[in-house]
Assembly symmetry: none
């Protein structure tokens, strides 16, 4: 990245200071006043120059539309946080949904995404509170929270979360020959035959939401 002249550095510092003090960036005219520049174009000139050099971002036609760009002090390359505030859902709504929506998040738990095998910076994960005992032989009890990684496919034997008939269920994913069944881990319940991906076989509206990668229980 190109070097900064003394004046450019001053202006950049001023913007950062102003931002910290006021909570919003300065206008062109405020920069002019600070540096005794009599034309807004003087300030504008420097800003656009700083933008080209990658120190700023300018949103055109917006008042105070300037953002400082954090330059990575390339110290710790893996500054990935060891915790992640995972939303916990009580139920899964019909249709596509946004995990960020506060409506459906029943709770929030801080977890360790690396522990659950996700090294991603922002993993697409959510928690789901399990209702019922259909997976009791897999050690999943009523009231447990399963950690779900959002993905549309699964391998044979995975424990998955699927939406079927407006309800979210946790079952084991079985591929037998060419059939796919959602198998409970409880002899009192019957397996649920489905066809692959969206297609319904017996009037069942089934879609795969994700695979269970972990479990959390509070006693």
């Amino acid at each position: 990245m190109a070097e900064l002249s003394s004046k450019q550095q001053q202006i950049l510092d001023y913007i950062k200071t102003y931002l910290k003090a006021q909570g919003y960036p300065p206008t062109l005219r405020e920069i002019c006043k600070e540096f005794s520049i009599s034309s807004t174009n003087g300030a504008r000139y420097h800003l656009h120059r700083l933008q080209k050099m990658g120190y700023l971002e300018i949103d055109p036609h917006r008042s105070r539309g300037v953002k400082c760009i954090e330059q990575e002090d390339d110290n710790q390359p893996s500054s990935k946080p060891s915790f992640f505030k995972m939303p916990v859902l009580g139920k899964v709504p019909a249709g596509p949904f946004d995990l960020a929506s506060p409506d459906l998040r029943e709770d929030e738990v801080t977890i360790d995404p690396t522990f659950f095998g996700s090294s991603m910076a922002e993993p697409e994960m959510f928690g789901l509170r399990v209702k019922g005992d259909s997976m009791i032989n897999a050690g999943i009890n009523d009231g447990d929270i399963v950690v779900v990684r959002v993905q549309g496919d699964a391998n044979n034997g995975d424990i998955v979360v699927a939406r079927l008939e407006e309800e979210a269920t946790v079952k084991r994913y079985r591929k037998e020959n060419r059939r796919i069944v959602l198998q409970p881990e409880n002899p009192a319940y019957a397996p649920i035959p489905i066809r692959d991906e969206g297609g319904a076989e017996q009037g069942q509206d089934v879609s795969l939401l994700g695979v269970v990668v972990g479990l959390i229980r509070s006693m």
Copy 2:
């Protein structure tokens, strides 16, 4: 401080979100657009109201001249973190031991101590990796990590971690009449009779390490 109505909360959240995303606050008209308010006065009304309540500060006659005011959740100065790096033990050594010792900590997991019912700033907790299937009917599988709160006593029905014969075991704590037994949750195993607190009854060297308050499983 006065309470926020639902709409006020939404607007405040929007400003914060916008601020984080853009680096500067929204204008009145942007707020209007977001909430389908057709007059700038609608937004203005809420902002000035939020200001009176102390949630915002408004600089008059300035574009985007609104600042969110960080409200100190007037809790303890010991700001309790929502996460805690819990040591995970593979086995429990004989005799008293120090959780801080790096020798026996097999792993480390970031957990949410509040979720597991501990509001203490620094709870005396540790994780223990479970070996065997003696508690399988309680939904505790081989390889699971049980979250243990260190304490020397337990209530009837609690799942506890006890050291017996140089080994750490997870069992259910049963008080029957005047006997105390450590009961596996698996018919293939026999209950282990013990006497209270340290005293051995049948040559068993038993001591209670803590009670299980949670469980974490990675798949």
